[in-house]
């Protein structure tokens, strides 16, 4: 009567999964920290122009976005194909910019207001008329720090 069975030696032993939760948690925390949940769903088609002299914004929390472009396909029957301004989650008129600037400023500390950056995300085929009107409005509101959002290109991109 053998008390000891011979252990099966066929096949590789299973991987030890004891440390799996640790790894998963680590990844989880990484993604939780890096996530910035997109606030606005885009209602305009955006093809950003290319530029080589681009800079990153240091403080992401101080950036507000202004989108300009033709409405997306599913909204074109309603709004046509002319470029429109989108602020937050809705289409806006030029006059709404004023309110938008005031509201965005209220979100921040008074000291931070001069450091706020306004990122203009404009479709590259938009006519400058709209953009100029926005710039004039921003000037009137004393919101002077703007950024023309662009994609990274090396050298002179062909337009």
């Amino acid at each position: 009567m053998a008390k000891f069975h011979k252990q099966k030696s066929e096949g590789a032993p299973g991987i030890n999964t004891a440390s799996l939760p640790d790894i998963v948690f680590m990844l989880l925390f990484f993604f939780m920290v890096t996530t910035t949940i997109r606030k606005a769903s885009l209602k305009v088609q955006l093809v950003l122009p290319f530029a080589s002299e681009i800079q990153k914004i240091e403080k992401k929390s101080l950036v507000s976005y202004i989108y300009v472009g033709p409405p997306i396909k599913s909204l074109q029957s309603l709004y046509g194909t002319e470029p429109r301004i989108q602020l937050n989650d809705a289409f806006a008129k030029l006059d709404d910019l004023r309110e938008f600037v005031i509201k965005e400023r209220q979100k921040h500390d008074e000291k931070e207001v001069p450091m706020m950056t306004w990122s203009l995300k404009v479709d590259k085929d938009t006519k400058m008329g709209v953009v100029t009107d926005i710039k004039q409005k921003m000037r009137d509101m004393n919101a002077l720090k703007i950024m023309y959002s662009a994609k990274k290109a090396t050298g002179t991109a062909s337009f």
Partner: protein, 182 residues
């Protein structure tokens, strides 16, 4: 436990947007008070006129120009190493910290576009102008401090900025072609 963590993990992976916002930073001129006097006119030789029309054509100093040549032309204008009569004057020598006596150029770039100009074209011109300034600053910085402009610390880069100030003035757009009305 691991299941819940996995679930959360997948949620955050999907919700993550990794795109960083990049672009060309600009400072708009502050609004003018209504009762301000008109500034004295700038001499013609000190102005580098860049016009973009509604067909996205570029006119520089009265001549049609390909965008690829804009950068070099701008650099030539601002630097004016030979003190050419047609190119901008220099201010009287002044003392700049860390650099010493230097004659700052009086050159101003005047950028004007039509309301019908495409934004892509406008941004490309802005990009070329920025490149021109950046390269000039890089060269000057290399010569003075042996480093690129972007690698300098705050005081040194401030000195360079003072020696080669970026002056791009944007005029109100014209509506010559009658296109792109708001």
């Amino acid at each position: 436990m691991a299941d819940i963590a996995f679930l959360l993990l997948i949620f955050f992976i999907i919700a993550t947007t990794m795109d960083v916002d990049r672009g060309i930073l600009r400072r708009l001129p502050p609004p003018l008070p209504p009762d301000v006097e008109k500034p004295p006119p700038i001499k013609e030789r000190n102005v580098f006129q860049v016009l973009i029309n509604a067909n996205n054509q570029l006119m520089v100093e009265g001549e049609l120009l390909d965008i690829r040549n804009l950068k070099n032309k701008t650099k030539e204008f601002i630097a004016n190493p030979a003190d050419n009569e047609d190119l901008p004057e220099k201010k009287p020598p002044q003392n700049i910290d860390l650099i010493g006596i230097y004659k700052v150029s009086k050159g101003v770039i005047s950028l004007q576009n039509d309301r019908g100009t495409a934004y892509g074209m406008y941004l490309q011109v802005q990009n070329e102008l920025t490149t021109a300034y950046r390269e000039l600053r890089d060269d000057f910085s290399m010569q003075k401090f042996g480093k690129k402009y972007s690698e300098l610390d705050k005081n040194h880069s401030k000195a360079i900025q003072e020696a080669i100030p970026m002056v791009i003035s944007e005029a109100e757009p014209k509506n010559i072609a009658g296109m792109g009305k708001p």
